[in-house]
Symmetry: D2
Subunit: 333 residues, 4 copies
């Protein structure tokens, strides 16, 4: 479990409107209710981010089989593009790492995903493998709180030993927006930092630290309760703004409970915000999150939470990731 740097994506929202930022190529498309956003950042980009390709696949649902297939197809397509972007050839060897704590289901996405990967490295050692299968091995380093050993140490030493050409690292993420929870797959080439954990948060997994190409794949499976609260307060303000603006032109045919206030970009005036939410209404999103955190912490109620059905969702997500990875890296389609 780790917090991937989502600022690139948050900023993206702005950039789509502004268009003119230099050094950034962006690309966005939709299929049914799935949205894909991809950006490529150059070395000295204006966002202050690491260079690389960042892809976000957003979807509504993967629990029915049709949606599952649609998301799977897009995941395969985007993963393939990332592999091409990194100039990974068909005979490059791959180590797939399942990060996180396998005994905490909300943190077990990596561990569950690698269980279903088709592993072949030992067969290559015996010269006993169909060549449509790539040379693939897996590693589950677990977390330092369980093993006493920094997962970075285990990963680095294993890579030094078996020298894969590239690494795929899968992890559960912490959502910074409730609408992304369990509904976003992120693929990046800029690395990943496992474990907010115990003292070693600077041990990023990336080409710089490991010496091999890294593809990080993550899904946000948990969220800070402070995020839930501040997102909701924003929603209250957006709803009021929507109602005010649409008072005369309201669409009588659209059911009220299907209106997505969140995408409403009209802005309330300060005095209106103060009328509705008082001083709280004047805080920006970061100030609000900070206040909520300050209030909840002494009550020991600032929790990292996950949805009730997380067992079922991690089962589906890990199945999708492993099936997609198997098909793409082993050329099985």
């Amino acid at each position: 479990m780790h917090k991937i740097d989502l600022q690139a994506f948050d900023l993206r929202t702005d950039l789509i409107i502004e268009q003119n930022v230099k050094n950034i190529k962006s690309n966005k498309y939709s299929y049914k209710d799935i949205t894909v956003e991809g950006i490529i950042l150059n070395k000295n980009n204006d966002l202050g981010k690491k260079e690389g390709k960042y892809v976000t696949i957003s979807f509504k649902d993967i629990t029915d089989s049709n949606s599952y297939e649609s998301v799977l197809n897009i995941f395969k397509k985007e993963l393939k593009k990332v592999i091409d972007y990194l100039n990974i050839s068909n005979d490059n060897t791959c180590l797939i790492i399942g990060l996180g704590n396998p005994k905490i289901i909300s943190d077990a996405l990596g561990s569950k995903s690698i269980q279903k990967i088709i592993v072949t490295r030992h067969l290559y050692l015996l010269n006993n493998v169909d060549l449509k299968y790539r040379n693939v091995s897996i590693l589950e380093p677990n977390v330092m709180g369980v093993t006493g050993i920094d997962s970075f140490e285990i990963i680095k030493n294993t890579i030094n030993e078996i020298k894969p050409d590239f690494v795929i690292a899968i992890d559960s993420l912490c959502a910074l927006d409730i609408r992304r929870l369990n509904k976003t797959i992120q693929i990046t080439t800029s690395g990943i930092t496992p474990g907010s954990g115990i003292g070693n948060s600077r041990c990023e997994l990336s080409k710089d630290t490991l010496g091999v190409k890294v593809i990080a794949i993550g899904v946000p499976t948990v969220v800070d309760s402070a995020v839930i609260v501040s997102d909701t307060i924003q929603c209250i303000l957006k709803k009021v703004s929507y109602l005010k603006n649409s008072y005369k032109k309201i669409d009588k045919l659209k059911p009220i409970n299907k209106i997505n206030y969140f995408d409403n970009n009209s802005v309330l005036k300060d005095e209106e915000r103060k009328e509705i939410m008082g001083l709280i209404g004047l805080l920006d999103n970061n100030e609000l999150k900070k206040l909520v955190w300050e209030v909840l912490s002494p009550l020991e109620s600032n929790m990292i939470v996950t949805v009730k059905e997380i067992d079922f969702i991690v089962e589906k997500l890990s199945s999708l990731l492993s099936e997609g990875i198997n098909k793409v890296i082993h050329h099985l389609d």
Copy 2:
């Protein structure tokens, strides 16, 4: 998983102050940081509740072994008192039911707890059992969404077949207060209604419907995100109220992050609440929850959530419940 009627407990908070309500005997004590509240409601009580004994054990933590032992001892003591209250004798036979969905860990408290119960009914059928052990059997009816069969039907028919003298039903609950999440054990004799579920929510498990004495044991393991939001907004108001009132007399030696604003009972004036939180600040708790629900529902963001470490916590809680029940019903202490 079900919503136990917590109103009796919520009202209790008020009643402790008021004292004079007729038909209600109350009892409250603390041990270390564990608080126990017990009330007995008569048939025609002023709360409009079912008659019976209601016990709530509140604690801070059961993950370290000392706290675990303390909570276990109090749970055993209170369970024994409930058994005595129901005039259950040492040779009465018992069926222990683990409600909920065993594959969803936040709903699996019942299922996990009964796995460790010492079962003897089959040995009694063979006249092959040490008499300090009670005649005990277990049942895991699962949930209708998994089996297609109403759990109430399975329970009722099994009780008709094996005719136990009393039933203990264990279930995960939905918390109505974030501070209770995973930190409260509730024991009641008034019955339990499993499954908000599919059409059959009126199938209460109680003496009235099953014909045998019922002890319901529950722990809140999930919470509605609307509750998190409204509890937090209340906390913001309480914190401001606390800061205002304690401006001059503030305890410089007490670390700011250890102050429990929530127990602050001083009340802000309406204009103060409006200053801080605008119109939202004037809503009462139920109006606030309703507003939050209205805002979040169209976004499909009104989730039932649980803490990230739920696997570990259900392991500990189920261990505590089964150990306590084994010791009390089998006279092993």
Copy 3:
């Protein structure tokens, strides 16, 4: 886990040669290395067996995907024929029972299989289901040693409550021949007796006892170590017999370790058997098993055993059974 009556199948081996037995219709075919034997016994058959259809599907392997698909297809075809034999119509409702102890993997085939069944009865109660899906529910009664309740009681009462038109019961079996271990699927209409267990072994699940049509599906996943020993001693004799008979005409091109001595039907003379195996060689198969049992019991070494990889094999078998049942009962192909 139970011992299905395999005598019908054992006798079958003989009957295939003889052909003329009255009241028995037999049918046998092969596909690749899969063999299917089906017989129908009338009420007063010469075998003294219950009337009904008995099908045995024998295979070498289901762990590679090609073999898996072949066995799955034959299983679906044979299950469909059994359903037709019982005159079960498309709108008949079905209860699928997973027998055995879900916590003992060698006994968990039933439990694992029903987890993947598509359940619809609760949707039918709400009139909310695509009609290509049959009305299906599932039940996991567990075993008496775990619950204290006879699984037959739970099954009978559930059937009385929900009144399905037919029942499919899935169970792990005890093999009477090492070559059948994990390599045979048996389908019968004559019923099944779960649990050699504790006192209640006469509680057969069948149309006679439950009042509804019963299809029993089983796979032998365990074997008595006495069976391993006596089968091996038979093999030693068969190997010697083979070597003797084929001394001159031996096929030099056939690798010695691919010769299946077991299918060798030539018989050694008594003096030859005595030469090789002494008095032991003169015992018939049942006498030999009895002797082995007598010798091993006092050493507490007469074990019920299973193969080392049982976890993996039960995973594959349960996947195959549930996939096959889903496709056939829900008309999904």
Copy 4:
């Protein structure tokens, strides 16, 4: 899973009688029905074995709580003696390795055992630990067939990184005698070779290969079916021998099914053995195993098997090992 070299123990049986072998100190004692045998081999011992301490704890049962406690106490005592034998001091750091495949329950003893170990290395890194706890970390390298990576490589590199003072390696063993199955704990200081597996069987874990002291702990949880057969044939001969010798002096008060023929050391004459078992009766134990293996292999019936209840037994054994190791290495008693 691996085959520990049991020849030292097998030879031990002989040595106890003979006494005079030089360079070998032996020690044997019993407590209730538990037997402990310890030997120390010097560098150039006459057995051709690696030098070191070899301890075997044999027991009848650990499933009832009294026997469990007795075996646990002896295990703790013997483990402590091994630690002293290796001159391991209280502040030496320890890495505990759970060998085997965690998804195959008969091979998961190591993996299950380390799950319950108290891990402290990460707390030492933060200077945040009660000094009665040793600096301990754990590693689960899994098996090459699953990960594609030789477990030896992962272990060696992790040891190079974290530099523990000693290693405890826990593994499931393959029994060479049916009476030892699940009923023997072996502790050795001479190393262990995980994985008969894929090509790398020479990667022994020992002081020679890893540069740190190694304590190997194993329990036989599987057995080759050829061993079952040959052990049984030996038993048949021993039983006949017993009956012959005790014909006149038979103890009428001792129930026949409690006689342990296996410990009968009287020997049948060759003509008697031939009378009973023919030519087979004249084979020695190794010749017999080889014959059985030759006969069963072409039938694909030479299986590695385990007992039906292996899930339950591995649960108990891993609980015992982890509890014992925790108490001894952390000075908790």
